[in-house]
């Protein structure tokens, strides 16, 4: 998709009402995805780039299959965040797929990573878990599924860079406390259950300190030897 389209569409949208008021004709809303998802903009940004609120995630450039799974999970209540559950409750699979593909196609710039506030030890512990796991406690390396460069894998595994620490620990907490569930078998629930509070903090600190690649590249489907089975990533 033309990456400039959303911007033009937005401009058109804001130009329209004035015209409409002047001519008193009833103008239709722009027939674009950008106009259709304006309802998401206050929390995710007009191009899915995220907002200053650390808890509101970026959507742009994530794998379409992953985003689609999340939209279905919100609609059906398997992933809980009431304002989003409410907005999506009566939308069809087809439309949610189009919304997912739309955000997956956008490439707004990433904000620069926040300089880490955590100690070197904490970051080192995080890096250790992400790259090598913790065999003693049965924790698999995150990179085994999310990719050596942590860019994610088609179709359902997201990258882990460009996310903020509060969001990462919030999601790992969501799996541990059951407010976020993915298709069974829910491998992330197992992984999150193996991490201690200290591990979660370390992983979130490390991941959020790494710069995100300008153009995300996903590992091809089936290219990584996943240590656990995941319902969201069928073989």
């Amino acid at each position: 998709m033309d990456r400039f389209l959303p911007l033009t569409a937005l401009l058109a949208l804001f130009a329209l009402p004035i015209d409409a008021a002047q001519s008193q004709t009833t103008e239709r809303a722009p027939d674009t995805m950008a106009a259709r998802v304006l309802a998401c903009a206050p929390c995710h940004g007009a191009e899915g780039e995220g907002t200053s609120d650390a808890y509101f995630p970026r959507l742009a450039g994530k794998p379409a299959g992953y985003l689609y799974n999340q939209l279905i999970a919100f609609r059906d209540g398997r992933r809980r965040y009431p304002p989003m559950n409410y907005l999506l409750e009566f939308q069809t699979d087809d439309y949610l797929k189009k919304i997912a593909e739309y955000f997956a196609s956008l490439r707004p710039a990433f904000p620069p990573p926040v300089p880490p506030v955590d100690s070197k030890e904490v970051l080192a512990r995080g890096e250790q878990i992400v790259k090598n796991g913790d065999p003693q406690h049965g924790i698999p390396p995150c990179s085994a599924c999310h990719g050596p460069a942590l860019g994610g894998m088609e179709p359902g595994i997201p990258g882990l860079l460009g996310l903020r620490a509060a969001y990462i620990s919030g999601q790992l907490g969501g799996w541990r406390y059951g407010t976020r569930t993915a298709f069974a078998p829910d491998c992330m629930q197992i992984v999150a259950g193996l991490l201690t509070e200290v591990d979660v903090k370390a992983v979130a600190a490390y991941l959020s300190s790494r710069p995100a690649p300008a153009d995300p590249s996903f590992a091809p489907r089936g290219s990584l030897p996943m240590p656990l089975e995941c319902g969201s990533e069928p073989h």
């Binding site: 009402p17 409409a20 008021a21 103008e27 903009a41 059906d76 999506l88 409750e89 009566f90």
Partner: protein, 416 residues
């Protein structure tokens, strides 16, 4: 969405011994089954009898009421946990008279007070269809009602006050279309369950049929469908009512809140003739003429201050979609000028729209709706009150101002 209802006052032990009767097993005619499926859509059985992510018609959906929580029943043909052993007579008795096969009383959250109008022939078609859906083995969850409402004998009192048993009788002085609409709206459609005010006893007030009411537990207001007093469909064309009911959007307004569920699960599946018939009937309920002028005391010095504050918020946050003069971009962005549903005495719907935003339901006639962003985190209670006051009173609208307190109270309303 969990459905709610106050339509109940009662209830006790589930003394339902499974019916002894042997169900008639002769295979039904495919045309009858197809008709039954269509009628089940018109009755929106699926909305209540299917839990979120649950199996179709296996029940288990929680329905919150002021008296506790009811759980809907398994109506699949499973012989042990569903209604597999029921005969068509027993099924008709449930629909028509609100009684279980053993004579036990059914809570009026099951809309038998409307379904009583359904003809025997249509009831049999729905029965035939339900026998063909995949059986699901799932025990009914016991209701969780507070004393004394967990005593089913209380239903008897409710029935004396609110229940009039009787199949639909066509009015020979009216057109076939009007009669069809009457049958669907008052019977299977159970529209009055939300659109007729609920009185303190949890029954619908028949003297005020279709005059609108606040839906208990949900904090949504189902507007009047007549056109007296506060609002109504008086100046809607038949075409606009048909679009609204079938597509979820129209030149006059868009569907949201609990009405979105009705359109999504039920009305969008009805054929054009039937929806048109409902619209014709609803138009007939309208008493014609413009709505009575509201007696606003505006503009006092204070409320005109509120208004200019509200206008600045409107111009910044709303005009891009709803237009500088509230004309909207129908049907995608509803007009606010002249929109009766935002001028109702109750402002809950407008306040909640501003706080929570919304999407009309995705339907075959409007598969990719445009949406409205939520403003709960952007606007303070004062700002919400100001902008809602502005849209209720600008451009010739005649609603009353709202207070920051009203806005604040609705922040806590449950979303779904």
């Amino acid at each position: 969405m969990s459905r709610t209802s106050t339509g109940l006052l009662v209830g006790l032990v589930l003394a339902l011994s499974p019916a002894t009767a042997s169900a008639q097993q002769k295979a039904a005619d495919p045309a009858v089954i197809a008709k039954g499926e269509y009628l089940a859509r018109a009755g929106d059985c699926i909305a209540c009898h299917t839990a979120r992510e649950g199996k179709t018609f296996a029940g288990g959906l929680p329905m919150k009421t002021p008296f506790g929580t009811l759980y809907t029943s398994n109506i699949t043909p499973d012989p042990q946990t569903g209604i597999g052993t029921w005969t068509s007579d027993q099924f008709y008795q449930m629909m028509h008279n609100g009684r279980f096969p053993d004579g036990g009383l059914v809570y009026p959250a099951m809309p038998f007070a409307s379904y009583t109008q359904v003809t025997r022939e249509d009831s049999d078609a729905i029965y035939a269809y339900l026998r063909t859906v995949p059986p699901v083995k799932q025990l009914n969850k016991p209701h969780d009602l507070t004393f004394p409402f967990n005593n089913r004998s209380l239903i008897l009192g409710w029935r004396t006050l609110f229940f009039r048993e009787g199949e639909f009788k066509p009015d020979p002085t009216k057109s076939a279309e009007w009669n069809r609409g009457n049958y669907l709206v008052e019977g299977l459609g159970h529209c009055g369950m939300c659109h007729t005010p609920i009185n303190a006893l949890g029954g619908s007030k028949q003297s005020q049929a279709f005059e609108g009411g606040l839906i208990p537990m949900q904090n949504w207001y189902a507007p009047s469908l007549t056109s007296n007093k506060e609002t109504g469909l008086g100046d809607w064309t038949i075409e606009e009512i048909v679009d609204y009911l079938r597509k979820g959007v129209s030149a006059k307004g868009a569907v949201y809140g609990p009405m979105a569920e009705v359109v999504y699960n039920s009305l969008q599946y009805l054929n054009d003739d039937d929806v048109r018939a409902m619209a014709v009937y609803l138009k007939g309920l309208a008493q014609g003429g413009p709505p009575e002028k509201a007696s606003t005391s505006l503009p006092s010095a204070e409320s005109s201050l509120l208004l200019s504050f509200g206008k600045s918020i409107y111009d910044r946050d709303c005009a891009s979609c709803h237009g500088a003069t509230g004309q909207g971009m129908p049907p995608d962005y509803p007009p606010l000028a002249g929109n009766q549903s935002i001028q109702m005495v109750s402002a809950v719907n407008s306040i909640r729209m501003v706080l929570n935003g919304g999407y009309p339901p995705g339907t075959s006639g409007n598969p990719m709706p445009h949406g409205m962003p939520p403003f709960a985190q952007k606007l303070s209670d004062d700002e919400v009150a100001a902008v809602v006051t502005y849209i209720r009173t600008a451009w010739g609208n005649r609603g009353e101002p709202v207070s920051a307190r009203q806005a604040n109270e609705l922040r806590a309303a449950t979303l779904n």
